[in-house]
Symmetry: C2
Subunit: 221 residues, 2 copies
Amino acid sequence: MGKITVDVKREVLRANDMLAEALRREWASRSMLVVNLLSSPGSGKTALLERTLEILKGRMRVAVLEGDIETDRDAERIRAKGVEAVQITTGGTCHLEANMVAKAWERISDRDWDILFIENVGNLICPAGFDLGEHLRVVLLSVPEGDDKPAKYPKAFRTARWMVLTKMDLLPFFDFSPERAVSEAKRLRPDIRVFRTSAKTGEGVEEWANALVEEYRKMYG
Amino acid sequence: MGKITVDVKREVLRANDMLAEALRREWASRSMLVVNLLSSPGSGKTALLERTLEILKGRMRVAVLEGDIETDRDAERIRAKGVEAVQITTGGTCHLEANMVAKAWERISDRDWDILFIENVGNLICPAGFDLGEHLRVVLLSVPEGDDKPAKYPKAFRTARWMVLTKMDLLPFFDFSPERAVSEAKRLRPDIRVFRTSAKTGEGVEEWANALVEEYRKMYG
């Protein structure tokens, strides 16, 4: 029993990684920066995206793939910003896989894009195990969740190149130490780059959006 | 490939459910109420438990099984309240399964208990699929997460008999409608019982703790 499970899992992961690698190459050949956003439910992925899209408007051609278990509410929120969004409804699956992303991507691959955001399913655990072909993995941590989350959910923080602290406006109401959160994340990934943001006040969002543009320019000059 | 995965999954689930049923019977035969707590990371499961344990102290014999991917910080927090806690570290697995619970339970089954809390891994998706033999499944939803979460993560809310809204003291700072959260949860499970709590101010915690004692009395009179 156990052995079969492991072998099947390994095959699934290997197929996923091969497809992810092919996607990564296709996107690079089309000069795209693809960003995979990971976080708990309610950490503010969509709110951060909404603000970010306002800043990037007119500067970059941006599209969004929205991962959810059910509902297409997040895609609706993005479309309300005048940005192309494709909803991926996983129907119970707790993470996005490369084949779901490939199918959604097909629907907008006829046009040219500079940045493609993939908003993963709200889950700090399972999505960390699945490469989607992204060039940049970003983990969000909201102030209300607590500064102990990197230590408790290490894989998401170990595999992310950037970490965005969100809902920073709530700092006065929580026993949350950004320094502790950052030092725990750095224990897992010493080179992790950190942004401190609030989608409500706008704090740090411009810095984060500019860093994305820089990242794009570094790749495609 | 796909077919094998499904069959293995089904076998795993069937074995889980059989063991869960055996645990449920054992616990009932020992006049225990077993409560499975589900929520996102950082929704305040441990904080609610800490407060609840203070209220139940001297009235009920309580123990806690603490599920986490890594670290034993939550068990330490519970022990600081003078309450027996067994840490279950899943080592990457995104939910608790009945066999993990059975092993942890063995370590304290030599003594008598009235209420056993199982704090599941912080994850609003995967734990919903695994019966742990509990008599009462409770889902927590914190104000900062947003009132759209029942619709987006339906299985957790459909399988829970009770829902506890947490961090209610933060209501002034969020665009969170308890009425909307409740009505979305009731669309999924019309008989869901709702508590509104704040571990910080203590709001509603006594009502919730008393309801647990009532539930216990209803079962074992």
